[in-house]
Symmetry: C2
Subunit: 181 residues, 2 copies
DNA sequence: GGATAAATATATCATAGTGATATATATAAT
DNA sequence: ATTATATATATCACTATGATATATTTATCC
């Protein structure tokens, strides 16, 4: 199974959703909206945009932008839209998941419980903060977009996940404390 | 912040934990034990092993292995162990998380609820299966290793996560059904 | 007022990481 | 008898990441 470049579909999807945009605008949008479950960076966005143009899936018009680099405004073509649709209809792969906390806990030799506890506590704090953020974002989404189902679904996923992590942290700490009695 | 190659620490950690091993054995171990939160592949393991040897963090002895390629058995050196320790004491980054399901839900235009439901159902089934697997593995870990805290902690993380996903799937389906009434 | 940071906008580079594939043989399962 | 799996190494092309370079305007801080 050939590995496929998903960035191209992210960009096509955003162009379809938001209309003509620059690479910079799309990156900002990704950072705001997809950040909890997907990320992209310029080092990938610009080359992919170039390739999308070469293969006729987007068109580009340059706009003068006094003092700053010219804006390259991309628009999705019909070929691009149909390409996006056909990708959307393929079966998808699961979640790519690399958890450095679990890796470190696993690699740490026995009798290093203090370090474990320190790491777990950090993770706990982090997820507490995330949950607060989600609450704010959800409020914002509900007020601004009416019922933006997609956004709400992805948000609730993030919330469920962080809640699960919090529970796990508490249980893990309990286990470690018990062990040290 | 320079990006660092984590594979090297995974390999050093495994060598410290399991003693002298070949690349193949370490890959098998990763697939069995870390698979739920970390993965590595040969395309990275072999080059990194070579580099670890060049930088004196492992030693290598070749063993004849009639009919098959020579086994290259790697052993962690003191330099390697201290390098591992110093990495273990650095602050760690969060979870790398790329969720293709959420991406697709987000990119799908409105009024495509059937497709959404299909995707969510698939995710639900997948996590149901995972939970069953975890139950078996946990039994095995508890019986074989006595109280292997690390393994139990990572397992319970996986369980919590899948449970959260199941809950989310059910809620998401409810939301979608309500919307279509 | 002057310095600093952030926003706008493009792009490239080296390195990290992935999936497929090549090579070769023994053994186990169908 | 055939096929799949396990053992064992290694490379390749491509994807993805983080840092950095360039250049200007605008906003913020002391």
């Amino acid at each position: 199974m050939a590995r496929i470049n998903k960035t191209q579909y992210v960009l096509l999807g955003i162009l379809r959703m938001r209309g003509p945009s620059t690479g910079y605008e799309m990156k900002s949008f990704i950072d705001e909206s997809l950040n909890y479950f997907w990320m992209e960076n310029y080092g990938h966005i610009y080359p992919v945009l170039k390739k999308l143009e070469e293969t006729g899936r987007v068109t580009c018009r340059e706009e003068a932008n006094p003092g700053k680099p010219d804006r390259k405004v991309y628009t999705i073509t019909e070929a691009g839209a149909s390409d996006l649709e056909s990708w959307l209809s393929t079966p998808f792969e699961g979640i790519i998941f690399k958890n450095e906390l679990l890796l470190r806990l696993f690699l740490l030799p026995p009798d290093r419980d203090e370090e474990m506890i320190r790491m777990i506590r950090k993770e706990r704090d982090h997820n507490k903060k995330l949950l607060e953020e989600y609450a704010h974002v959800e409020e914002h989404v509900r007020s601004v977009h009416g019922k933006q189902l997609n956004a709400l679904l992805t948000l609730s996923y993030g919330r469920k996940f962080s809640e699960a992590v919090l529970e796990w942290c508490d249980e893990a700490m309990e286990l470690l404390k018990e062990e040290n009695k």
